[in-house]
């Protein structure tokens, strides 16, 4: 196994306030890795920085052996790193179809795009029913599915998922986690953020625990799920 993504000593600030103080993490090819932590710990900030939406104050980010900190967002997507962002951020005045088209914005391989479209619509049949509906008029859960499906349309090597189960009914949460496993089976590596730490540790191979901008713990997901401190803080036990 080789490191697909390597984040080292990352520091990110909003203005003068450091939101991410010291984050180092590795994601290997084929893994599901989860980043857990309480509200405001800096999880989304970390993902936004990896995707190039924020510029780090310090540290390095390496993807497929290439430095990507300092690259523009669109260059990073072109390398095969896609994200389904926190809060869904689908295009409200575009239909499901147009949103999915935009997910494949940088691709030219028409046939493969159509195949991927079928694949994500099979994964989320609800989106097929709502195909021509405007994104902004769909329910929160449907929008969340669209956000994940749209990110998959980029044919990513690494998929960043920021709280994909947010706002979903319990049955749909289960479905999202099953979907995450299916996505991995299709050869896509996943870095996952979840409020639902128990479920995240359940699907993940490895996990990092983030606390006020610093990685506090890391290890195999199953080990962390049994750890007392983790259980107390994040698993409600």
């Amino acid at each position: 196994m080789s490191a697909l993504l390597e984040v080292k000593d990352l520091k990110v600030a909003y203005g003068s306030i450091l939101a991410v103080k010291d984050v180092s993490l590795t994601v290997n090819e084929g893994e599901i890795v989860t980043l857990i932590g309480s509200n405001g710990a800096g999880k989304s900030t970390t993902l936004r920085t990896i995707s190039g939406l924020l510029k780090p104050k310090g540290g390095t980010i390496t993807f497929q052996g290439q430095r990507i900190d300092g690259k523009e967002g669109h260059e990073i997507v072109a390398m095969g790193l896609c994200q389904s962002p926190e809060g869904r951020r689908i295009f409200p005045r575009m239909s499901v179809r147009e949103n999915l088209d935009l997910g494949a914005f940088l691709r030219n391989d028409k046939e493969a795009i159509e195949a991927d479209r079928e694949r994500v619509l099979d994964l989320f049949p609800r989106l097929r029913e709502r195909y021509e509906q405007k994104g902004g008029t769909m329910s929160g859960g449907e929008q969340q599915m669209l956000a994940v499906a749209r990110a998959m349309m980029g044919a990513p090597k690494l998929l960043l998922l920021d709280e994909p189960s947010m706002g979903l009914a319990p049955v749909l949460v289960d479905m999202i986690f099953e979907t995450i496993i299916k996505i991995r089976e299709q050869g896509i590596t996943i870095l996952l953020i979840e409020q639902n730490a128990a479920a995240a540790l359940d699907v993940a191979d490895r996990a990092y625990v983030l606390e006020s901008g610093r990685i506090k713990m890391s290890g195999n997901a199953s080990d962390l799920a049994k750890d007392d401190a983790v259980t107390k803080a994040y698993l409600g036990g």
């Binding site: 190039g52 523009e72 967002g73 997507v77 896609c82 409200p92 005045r93 575009m94 935009l102």
Partner: protein, 346 residues
Amino acid sequence: MSLFTGGYQARQDRRRYLERGLSIIATFGILYWLGINFHKSPSQFFQASLIGLSNGVLYALIALGYTLVYGIIELINFAHGDLFMLSAVFSANFIAIWFHKEKSGPAAWGVFLMCLVAVMTFAATINVGIERFAYRRLRRAPKLAPLITAVGVSFVLQFIGLRWNGSGPKTWNTVLPAGGFHISGVNIEYTTIISFAVTAPLLLLMSWIVTRTRQGKAMRATAQDQDAARLMGINVNRTISFTFALGGALAGAAGILFQQTRGLTSYNLGFQLGLIAFTSAVMGGIGNLQGAVLGALLIGLIQGLNDGLPIGLGQQWSQTVVFSILILLMAFRPTGLLGKPVTEKV
């Protein structure tokens, strides 16, 4: 509780009746005014409409620049009218001074077409430059900062116009064929036909770019959510530059059309026509492309009818009439004619 809601309900109903009554009265008043004018002199009626519409297409070209930029970065680009002014001055110099064409003729028409391409490129380049050096660094700043910057850029462009064109208006000999022909009493100028012939394909081309091309898709996505657009792999900076280029090119076309149909340039043209064009964009629903064109044609038409009909308020009331109608419209439809309640963008 029921008492309050009852009172509220009654007030709402009364307000709605009042609004509906007023708008019906206004509509009938306008129809009556148009009717008696039409009855009095049909040819004058059509003449006034035609003049109005030919101004309207000019406003439309400028209005689109305001609405495109607002649609994508929510900035009211105060400098846009002055870009139009510089384009008019550029065209005058290009045709009359650099190419010595002051009379109509095939060679001069060739120069006109060359100038059309040149001035569109000129204005697009300046607009892209303005965005790159003045607005881009303020993209994440509070809204007021780019707005004030735009006012500043407007002054800079006016100053350039002042130095280039002089402090007073300048008249020019133009190369478009003068005169026209008559259809049942309505005089149709060749310049009017040329204005339509230049504008219509440009509008169609633009609408094709925005709705059908990859670049247009990137524009619409960027208008709706910049960060999400970045996550799709869209080069947001380049997309915004492209939008400024489009708006600039249209202002350039408006510049040459104005200069060649009126034979006039002045450093403060941007203020006069820019204001009307901006009003058109607002009337149509700022950020909405069809709205800008509709608003521009309507304002042109209103002005034309008001100025040209036998029974009307006359030219000195032109601006007053336009803005009264705008204020009325805004009271009933704050988002403009085609604007959606949620700000509709590109």
